[in-house]
């Protein structure tokens, strides 16, 4: 709770809203004890007094009633009615939504049909019908406003509930023997409550507006009682001659609704964990570069990553996802980069073409050189011209990485046309050829498919075709087969292998699977906690791993044909990259670790063909 308030008030606009709203609330709560005139006593002789006249701070209205007094009493009424309507609508609507969402099936169907029907009205029609039936009056306006908002809550909360009800912890609760009511109250409700609060805080202002609106039309509060809406309604006829009678209540409504909206946004931001982590910011067109230190000198490799450092800056924390990685690849060579989750292998791959999402990603050091030219310091346009043209990517999940609303052929054409001025007819023909190249049967027809019409394996072939579109020099494949079934994976891997041989491509292949690198890659680099711990030719690394981490990781991987057995494990967990220990990052899990491992920096020893970052390697290199 205190954490929530802290978070809420860190948002300055929300704090401003809270201050204004509290001031209004205090004022209206004190209204009965303040020395105000009776709001309903008319004095026709004093009508339309201007503001700041004696005895009438805000002037008087068309019947000579004191505006300040009427304003405070009216605000009191408007707030009370709006908040009551919000509470009623939220309670009834959420209850309906939770029941419909949790039970699903027919109950859900019937309830949601009814809700849809109510939402098929423009809301004011429903409110008007209700008021027409019940007759004008503030209470009836309250009922009408609450009623028209019930479907809103029901639909909103149902959506959230359906998502939660499908979560595994609900199944787990059922298996723990809990009944439906208990699950709704103890498992669902605590998770839905923040959403209800968010929905309420963002609609309370709206409901105050709506009740004011009905009163403005003369359908809400009836004279002589006034709320803000009816004050405006009565003042309308004197708008041109005596505008102050309209301006005063209008500004009050505006202040209240605006402060509630500001506060509501703040509440939403503070309660929504997605927003809290700052995730809802859009990534820029290229990764932010704040390079400190020397830029390494060029080499004659096709693509060279030199002492690359990429960090994530989240709040005050700095995650060193890539802490100084050097890799290089030559034409026609396949380099495997292997590591567990959080080792920095994907971030390394994405840094090459500035595709790490920023915020929060920042490249803080090193260089990436394509044919000697530094890409990290390059301008957006020069980087864009190489993206997909000289260096292309294949990503992990082909369903989410292809645009869902464009036909496959168009996405392939676009890859070509982003770099070459070729008419669409030609690029379409080229797209068909590309699909044939990746062995998609019936390519002429497939080119007109949308991604969702293809199977996972076919989609990944399209992903590969897209990478090949401009005949690049380097392909960076970021776990391209992880999302695929094993029989499909085998085919995709053999396709990549053939393409690489036929076209002399350089491939950087990111994976966590030793079996895959063993079959595909010429060289391997093993990453741990953002650094390369071992590098060398594939057979040498796999058969004689030099780093204790590599050796033990290989031992963990069960291999087909080994029979039923206990498996080797590495105790403990990899260190967090925002809190790396001094010395070797693996030391705390390593049986061979000595004092020296835990203090000084451990350097990568060896040459480009075989290197290890360890004081006590398993094999001499």
């Amino acid at each position: 709770m205190t954490a929530f308030l802290k978070l809420l008030f860190r948002n300055r606009l929300a704090a401003l809203g809270a201050v204004v709203l509290s001031a209004v609330l205090i004022l209206v709560l004190l209204t009965p004890v303040l020395p105000l005139q009776n709001p309903d006593i008319t004095a026709t002789a004093d009508r339309f007094q201007k503001p700041f006249t004696e005895g009438h701070l805000l002037g008087t209205d068309h019947l000579g009633r004191d505006l300040l007094s009427r304003l405070l009493h009216g605000t009191r009424l408007s707030l009370a009615v709006g908040i009551a309507a919000a509470l009623i609508a939220a309670t009834i609507g959420s209850a309906i939504g939770i029941v419909a969402g949790y039970f699903g099936g027919r109950a859900d169907n019937i309830i949601m049909r009814g809700v849809d029907m109510l939402m098929a009205f423009p809301y004011i029609l429903l409110a008007l019908v209700i008021v027409a039936a019940l007759g004008p009056g503030l209470m009836n306006a309250l009922i009408a406003v609450a009623a028209v908002n019930v479907p809103f809550f029901a639909r909103n909360i149902r959506g959230i509930t359906v998502g939660l009800a499908g979560r595994e912890f609900i199944d787990a609760a059922r298996l723990a023997g809990m009944g439906h009511i208990r699950i709704i109250l103890t498992e669902l409700l605590p998770n839905v409550l923040p959403v209800i609060i968010i929905a309420m805080s963002t609609t309370v202002g709206w409901m105050i507006l709506e009740t004011a609106g009905l009163s403005f039309l003369g359908l809400g509060s009836q004279p002589p009682q006034a709320d803000l809406g009816s004050m405006l309604g009565e003042a309308r006829s004197a708008l041109i001659s005596h505008p102050h009678t309209s301006v005063v209540p209008g500004i009050m409504i505006f202040l209240i609704v605006m402060s509630i909206n500001l506060l509501g946004d703040g509440v939403r931001d503070a309660l929504d964990p997605r927003l809290r982590s700052g995730a809802l910011s859009r990534p820029r067109a290229m990764t932010l570069v704040e390079r400190k230190g020397e830029v390494p000198a060029p080499t004659d490799d096709l693509l060279a990553i030199q002492d690359l450092q990429t960090q994530f800056h989240v709040g005050d924390r700095v995650y060193r996802a890539v802490g100084g990685v050097s890799l290089s690849v030559k034409a026609g060579e396949c380099l495997g980069v292997i590591g567990e989750s959080g080792s920095g292998k994907s971030v390394t791959a994405l840094s090459v073409m500035g595709l790490v999402a920023s915020p929060p990603g920042v490249i803080t050091g090193g260089a990436v050189r394509f044919q000697g030219e530094d890409l990290i310091g390059a301008s957006y346009e020069s980087l864009r011209q190489k993206r997909g043209d000289r260096v292309a990517y294949i990503f992990q999940d082909p369903l989410s990485t292809l645009h869902p609303l464009y036909r496959v052929g168009r996405q392939l054409s676009e890859a070509i046309q982003s770099h070459h001025d070729i008419p669409t007819a030609e690029t379409q023909a080229r797209a068909v050829q590309l699909l044939r190249d990746v062995r998609i049967p019936n390519a002429e027809a497939r080119v007109d498919n949308y991604p969702h019409e293809l199977s996972g394996g076919m989609r990944q072939r399209v992903g590969i075709a897209m990478a090949l579109a401009n005949e690049p020099d380097v392909i960076i494949a970021d776990e391209p087969t992880t999302a695929l079934d094993v029989t499909v994976q085998a085919q995709i891997l053999s396709l990549l292998d053939d393409l690489q041989r036929e076209r002399g491509l350089a491939i950087i292949f990111i994976t966590h699977d030793f079996g895959v690198v063993a079959q595909l890659c010429d060289r391997i680099a093993v990453m741990y906690a953002g650094r390369i711990v071992e590098e060398g030719p594939t057979p040498s690394v796999l058969e004689a791993p030099a780093h204790p981490y590599t050796k033990r990781l290989i031992a963990c991987v069960p291999e087909l044909g080994g029979g039923q057995r206990a498996l080797a494990a590495i105790p403990g967990l990899p260190p967090l990259v925002d809190d790396l220990p001094p010395g070797c990052a693996f030391a705390s899990r390593c049986e061979k670790a000595q004092e020296t491992c835990r203090t000084g920096e451990v350097m990568l020893k060896g040459d480009a063909s075989r290197a290890v970052r360890c004081h006590y390697p398993e094999e001499a290199i």
Partner: protein, 315 residues
């Protein structure tokens, strides 16, 4: 596609039936005797009996509903007692005016809202984003009727740029420029809130989409940033923006009631409020059902637009 439209039209039938039932049920909940309410102090037993017969109130509820709905299907919405003319004639005439006002406002809020949202998202945390966010916040916090009144004070009374109210000038008006001059203020006042809501939603939809993997793919293949935003991202964001346009159309129609009162616009909203205050129930019923039916049809159009945009929707 044709099949899909037919399917959606057929599925609208139960919704329309439901709407008539809801309206009819609520209206028959009216406490007391409608005849008394209508006739007020003129109520004599003979008058009341005659009126009850005229209104069909002597029959059971279900029979009355069926009579009402079959009559409506033949275009007979009954007769307004306060205006002494057929309800349908009055509604059609008034709805025409509302359509001009609400339609203009709807186009305005869709275009401005989406544009503001896209700019805001593409320049997140930049100056443009901050200005738009601020204006939007004010837009969604001002009641439309108050905004309308302030516009009248400023543009009509003080600056004398635009007419105070009405749809046409009383003398010598009636042409299109005259209509446009009268339309500007009410349309803007009506569009304000919806523009704000659509802008906010478009902004968050764009931000959500820009984080998706397929945007990274587009960038990875070298698509220029302008095309990434205005092509790839906006197209995908439209999938979540379009349904909101449908909902906002309902809000624009609702807001039209206030705006019509403030600007003396001869639309259906003003007619409904007058009818309620005069307890002209047939006019209320007829007007509500007619407008609701139009809104249902509009939402079918929105669904069809959505299915054209998103091939994943089964048609």
């Amino acid at each position: 596609m044709g099949g899909y439209i037919v399917k959606r039209l057929v599925s609208a039938v139960p919704v329309l039936l439901g709407i008539t039932i809801i309206v009819f049920l609520i209206m028959s909940l009216i406490p007391g005797d409608p005849a008394t309410a209508i006739l007020g102090s003129y109520a004599t037993p003979e008058n009341m009996e005659k009126l009850n017969r005229d209104l069909g109130l002597d029959k059971p509820v279900i029979t009355r509903y069926f009579i009402w709905i079959t009559n409506m299907l033949t275009g007979d919405f009954g007769r307004s007692y306060s205006l002494n003319r057929p309800v349908i004639d009055e509604v059609l005439e008034r709805f025409n005016a509302t359509l001009i006002l609400a339609g203009t406002a709807f186009v305005l809020c869709s275009v401005l809202g989406i544009l503001a949202g896209v700019v805001s998202a593409a320049r997140q945390y930049g100056v443009a984003d901050k200005i738009i966010t601020f204006v939007v916040l004010i837009g969604i916090s001002v009641p439309a009727f108050f905004l309308g009144m302030m516009m009248i004070l400023l543009f009509a009374v003080n600056l004398r740029w635009l007419p105070v109210s009405g749809m046409y000038a009383i003398y010598g008006g009636g042409d299109l420029p005259d209509l446009l001059r009268h339309l500007i203020m009410p349309a803007l006042a009506l569009a304000a809130v919806a523009t704000g809501v659509i802008a906010r939603l478009s902004r968050s939809a764009m931000l959500e989409v820009l984080r998706q993997d397929f945007i990274r793919t587009a960038r990875a293949k070298g698509v220029p940033e302008r095309r990434v935003i205005m092509g790839h991202a906006l197209r995908a964001a439209m999938v979540s923006i379009i349904p909101v346009l449908g909902i906002q159309a309902g809000f624009v129609l609702s807001g039209a009631v206030y705006i019509e009162i403030v600007f003396q616009w001869p639309g259906v909203g003003r007619m409904l409020v007058d009818a309620i205050l005069k307890r002209d129930l047939l006019l209320v019923q007829g007007g509500v059902v007619f407008v609701a039916a139009c809104y249902v049809l509009f939402n079918i159009a929105v669904d069809v637009a959505q299915s054209l945009l998103d091939p994943r929707i089964k048609t």
